[in-house]
Symmetry: none
Subunit: 234 residues, 4 copies
DNA sequence: AATGAATGAGTATTCATTCAT
DNA sequence: TATGAATGAATACTCATTCAT
């Protein structure tokens, strides 16, 4: 019985920032086709500028330029610079959550080892989908961590993993939230270290993925209520 | 035989930046006691400003003020603002390396489980020594991820862990560098996630540490050459 | 015989700006009822925005929004933002002139005291009709004092007062323009001071009016040709 | 017994703004001679830019340029643009207050007519001292009236006039504050109207002054507790 | 050595105005 | 005619860095 649930870690973030900070919401919903394209172009421009110029040189003007629009237009869709970064980070987290949710959803319980692989695969599939984008995201992270992402996003991720853990056919978790937190953090650490390099080498990234699997399996097996103990009592 | 050694991960950083970028070296070596005190005061001031004001409000003038010296004096010891941040980060890494080196140095080989705990303990002992400082360091990280730390520092850390792994009395590693890299990255991920919160709760930090141990033991056991173990049993 | 007529004061403004600056004229005369309504709505919107948001937040977009039309439409009726402010100020002056003209028009000569009261009453009746509008107008004043109102407007006001002074049955003015100028300026000063407050208190405004009367009577009596009267009696 | 003293007019301003708004205070007190000269140069530059370019083109950069310093230096002495305008306006009011205080201070009671002239003379002496500065001040007024001058300044002015009125040897005032308010407002109106012209003609300004005297005498005589009534009772 | 005043490039953001639809 | 998305010039303010004293 944990005196301080890991769920609190994320919960504590909630008080600091309202669920969806008003000043970070897009100003207008892009309904017209042109608008949609513009927003997309700006998104991509942020990534490009981040990759080629770095966070320090990421100015609103530069992003607009790269996107082929005027600053004014940029500000029509994003209330401020933070929102620019925020959006692409948020999008990434949502993507991640969706993929992880799939691991256990609509599926029969599976052996823990399978789940562990599934989680690692899900995690790295998103990270590896567009390596440059992932790299760009790590550049951003520091600049955002003040005005944090809406805690919902974190919670959703954590919950997705927690759910997956409950789907294990051959293991139970005393404190699944804690395990979910640690697993996610560890995978994040490995991914971050791997992507914190100017260039991403495909072969290296593949190995990174494999290490992630190894880590996932090993940690989860260790964190589960040891079967050994249970069988011993019988 | 890895087609792409993990050592390369850090080595690849070398090309981007000269080993010890000249413009980040302290301008004068603090030989006099007064100078030493000044540098120390500035160090501490950086941490304090970071903690109380945040990265965005960390200006050279403010740091100088807090340190009780003039900006001019600050620039006598640090060539630029980057160097200011750089220095305290570097110091942290050196500290970390020293502690990890102690794990295996001048010691007889030990069981892997012991080593795993020793490494996790070493890692968290540094992180938990001054939690606020650790928090401050994570704030910085993003800001200097452009001008990276000299790869030596990373390599030294990685090497320290690698050496420790070789000290295992009951396990061998096919690719100890890889294991060292993954272990360090995973621990870093857990620590980062734990400290990326406005307030650090001692109880939570203790649990973080315990999770680190669990992770360390589990991963290392899994990463070790299982084939050897199997042949031993036969 | 004044070596420098007070009429010149306003006349001197003429050289600076063409009588009715082309770029401030409404673009189209609102002949249709719909157009008339639109212009009226914009007028009112300017006042409302000014009152609720302040001059600094008076943007063309905001005015259009408040008026329930698009910016484009606004620009169909007003060539630029200046014109927007200009128009409502102009309207106010015209109103004022009309009311003051009534003081003496189609009326038999009256005692100066009566006229003085009449002028003050006229002046304040306009200012007090919609106190919030008056307040809004003072907010604007500074913003357009560059591109001044067409001097005609001032002249018309001054002339109206001058005419009234000539209607005095018991006094003559050596330089009625001068007296008109001073009286108008003084009343304007009192009104401005009174309205330059966040909130308008009805009781206070009533007293303001009374002071205006007192001022008007006192000044006009003093400014009238007392010498002539005295010599006449002797 | 007025149900709403005129003193309230100014008092009501007090609640809106703290006596000396922190963000308008000069950042550093100019102790060194160079600093003093710099501040003075900036002061003068504000006036010059206002006169030659107008309020709309009064930018901090432009002022700094005109003053022969960098923007940075300007901001070393003035926390923001408002403060720039604020300062010269404040200075003007202080000057005005000082001159008006002299009218009655250290003086034996005098006839009301003398005092009236004295007040008008004081008022216009300040306005006419540097006509261009006065003109510049009127341009500013509009831009400031949001963040008002510290009410102390107004009160000091009002008090000075009130005191003077009490020094009349041949008249008493039922509500001297009210009279002070009206007189000041009226004089301000006349001055404003006179200076709201591109060019100031000395001859015209002289006449303005004379009208001010006339107005002052006439109003004060009328506002005083009528001697007629008193003599009537005797 | 120390100081801190001066510098000025750099940046986020606004808003009047236009014009294709 | 009406719309409102797009434009981009303009501006207040900051802060790393220098250098005369």
């Amino acid at each position: 019985m944990p005196e301080h649930s890991f769920r609190k870690v994320f919960a504590s973030l909630e008080s600091a920032v309202p669920p969806v900070p008003g000043h970070l919401k897009p100003r207008k919903t892009p309904v017209q086709s042109r608008s949609g394209a513009t927003v997309e172009a700006i998104h991509e421009a942020v990534v490009q500028v981040l990759l080629t110029e770095g966070l320090a040189r990421l100015t609103t003007t530069r992003v607009a330029e790269r996107a082929g629009v005027s600053v004014g237009t940029l500000y029509q869709y994003f209330p401020n610079k933070q929102a620019l970064l925020f959006t692409i980070l948020l999008q990434h987290f949502v993507e991640m959550a969706e993929v992880i949710e799939k691991v256990s959803r609509d599926r029969a319980p599976r052996p823990l080892a399978d789940l562990a692989d599934g989680l690692a695969d899900a995690y790295f599939s998103v990270k590896l989908a567009r390596p440059e984008v992932t790299t760009a995201l790590y550049r951003i992270a520091g600049a955002i961590d003040q005005v944090r992402l809406p805690p919902d996003v974190f919670k959703r991720l954590e919950t997705a993993v927690t759910q997956a853990l409950k789907h294990a056919s051959d293991a139970t978790f005393h404190d699944p939230e804690r395990a979910a937190f640690t697993l996610l953090s560890a995978l994040a650490g490995v991914a971050r270290a791997g992507f914190s390099r100017p260039v991403s080498d495909p072969a290296f990234l593949r190995r990174l993925h494999r290490e992630g699997r190894l880590l996932s399996r090993a940690y989860l097996r260790a964190a589960a209520d040891t079967a050994a103990d249970l069988s011993a009592t019988s």
